[in-house]
Subunit: 78 residues, 2 copies
């Protein structure tokens, strides 16, 4: 079974760069990558927060949050 | 030809977590991943810096720097 990786972003330039270069670089044989735009999908902000996400872009792999550079604080997306 | 990805770290717990979960998750078919411990290999701090790395852990993919969470400032490793 593939591990789950969720990439949370808000469409910002820093987010797009991280999506194209990091999220897209994950091994598709081992990971199922879901891309979530929190600006468009505000209902999922709480889910990101409970995974420990403080800012976007962030990648949650196996439940662990990895903040990649800095685009926007999560509080700006509520 | 595989793209080059360089993971810079300093052996810190945040670094180890990022190495095991993000650097190790990259697609081995498309990326050749090099792991560089800047604490042990101070000669390469300048190289990381010129790629735009400000702190570790960081992943440089195709020349672009991606800081993953925050372990230590690069200046602490000089």
């Amino acid at each position: 079974m593939k591990a789950k990786a969720t990439f949370y972003h808000a469409g910002c330039p820093v987010c797009v760069e991280a999506e194209q270069n990091v999220a897209a670089a994950l091994d598709p044989q081992r990971f199922e990558v879901e891309i979530v735009h929190l600006g468009n999908d505000k209902a999922r902000v709480a889910e990101a927060e409970s995974a420990g996400v403080k800012s976007v872009p962030a990648l949650v792999i196996d439940g662990l949050p990895f903040h990649i550079n800095f685009g926007a604080d999560l509080s700006a997306l509520k």
